[in-house]
């Protein structure tokens, strides 16, 4: 019976967590909805097909130049940079998580 009790309490905890999160988010959204919507800036009115590079410098200018010059190369840059960044960040945060002192080995698959 205690086994079932354990499952029930897990379910109850889940429901309590859902309820608390819903309250917290609703209150914070009510308080900040106006500011948050304004934070995104004015909606873009047109699609820019040529990037304006006049006030840019460094890496951002290089990206915009590639975009303007060759879209195929730009597509390769997008995929490679996302993959590399994902790999680096994944490895980095994986190590950081390991430093929290929790077991991060293989899991048993409990349903």
């Amino acid at each position: 019976m205690s086994h079932t009790g354990g499952r029930l309490s897990e379910f109850d905890r889940l429901i309590t967590a859902v309820r608390r999160a819903a309250w917290a988010i609703s209150l914070s959204l009510l308080a900040t909805a106006g500011d948050a919507l304004a934070a995104g800036g004015k909606p873009a009115t047109k699609l820019v097909n040529v990037a304006d590079t006049r006030n840019l410098s460094g890496l951002v200018k290089w990206i915009a130049d590639v975009y303007n010059a060759n879209l195929w190369l730009y597509a390769v840059v997008v995929v490679v940079s996302m993959a590399l960044l994902g790999l680096v960040l994944g490895t980095l945060f994986d190590r950081a998580m390991g430093m929290l002192g929790i077991h991060l080995g293989r899991l048993e698959h409990h349903e």
Partner: protein, 340 residues
């Protein structure tokens, strides 16, 4: 507050970095936990804050590829990624997506695409959400019954639909080690094909459909379904990003900022699965699907802005619950270790 605004040269606009980090983080947590790409959160969230829609889709796909790598690395170490199964599914999914795209073009020629697709989407989400919830409730009823009667008189559990499909012996038969079963290679290929067609017709990434399909049609444990689906999202996300980038519709600077937030979120969402049972993931998943379904109904009723706010709010709420599960579980584990 200008300090937090960056210029996005390709979309041709200024955007708040904190918003990009928040959106990325939210979708990272949900994606890592449920094994989905999360386009249903990112696209409306970016769009509501002024991001043009074509750039929102392309930028989402670009960061999705990177974020899924983060989750797949961790799920892989947990033993939740079945690479063979993922590859078989990808073969089916890509073929299915191509067939689905042709079906959409035919519907467009008949002038039915817009209305038919959205109604199909609503019906599909409602159906999946209801089935997953029904399955969860049946499981709980079974658990109560097993606890009430003697385990010896309860009898063996009845065969699932997926187990019946696994018994169909059409060569080549393949053993899927991480999933723990052997079945015909055609089963995941066909399931991938069908889910690919449905995803393509509905114009979505397909995580919502694939994750439950991996559980209920192929017979994967929930955690393997989550990890394997993310493996697939990683490949399809990269492919989608490439096609959108060739059309000039990816804002790389925004994608990088979003990926920074998503990488932290994905790591947290993925580790959170350690502290929860598979069926509890299914319960949260069904709630998430109902919310997505409600947002599509609101769009159908021309309440686009309210629909986007609902999605963003729900995304933040669900990721808060997941982080709560992670923090509580990690604290309990550390306390238990100190006692030993």
């Amino acid at each position: 507050m200008d300090f937090w605004h960056v210029y996005l040269p390709i979309a041709g606009m200024h955007f708040n970095v904190l918003l990009l980090l928040l959106i990325g983080f939210t979708v990272g947590v949900c994606g890592g936990f449920f094994g989905i790409g999360g386009a249903w959160i990112v696209t409306p969230a970016l769009n509501i804050f002024g991001f043009p829609m074509p750039y929102a889709i392309g930028t989402d796909l670009a960061h999705m590829g990177g974020k899924s790598i983060v989750s797949t690395i961790r799920h892989g170490k947990f033993g939740n990624v079945d690479v063979r199964l993922g590859v078989a599914m990808i073969i089916g999914t890509t073929s299915g997506m191509e067939l689905g795209a042709r079906l959409v073009m035919r519907l467009e020629r008949m002038g039915l695409a817009e209305s038919v697709i959205r109604k199909l989407y609503i019906a599909f989400l409602g159906l999946i959400g209801t089935y997953v919830l029904y399955d969860y409730l049946s499981y709980r009823r079974r658990q109560r019954r097993t606890a009430a009667v003697d385990a010896a008189t309860a009898g063996p559990p009845s065969e699932t639909f997926a187990q019946r499909l696994q018994r169909i012996k059409i060569p080549p038969m393949i053993h899927f080690k991480a999933s723990g079963f052997t079945c015909s290679a055609w089963l995941p290929i066909l399931v991938g094909l069908v889910t690919g067609i449905v995803a393509s017709v509905l114009g979505v990434g397909g995580g919502f459909i694939r994750m439950p399909s991996l559980i209920y049609l192929i017979g994967c444990p929930t955690l393997v379904a989550v990890g394997t689906d993310l493996f697939e999202v990683m490949i399809t996300g990269a492919y989608g990003a490439f096609t959108y980038a060739v059309k000039g519709r990816v804002e790389l600077i925004a994608a990088v900022w979003m990926l920074l937030g998503a990488a932290v979120g994905a790591q947290m969402g993925t580790v959170a699965v350690k502290y929860i049972r598979g069926y509890s993931i299914r319960l949260l998943f069904s709630i998430t699907i109902y919310i997505a379904c409600a947002s599509v109904i609101m769009k159908q009723l021309d309440m686009t802005k309210a629909s986007s706010i609902l999605i963003l709010t729900a995304g933040i709420a669900i990721s808060s619950v997941i982080i709560g599960i992670l923090v509580r579980g990690a604290l309990q584990e550390r306390a238990a270790r100190k006692e030993m």
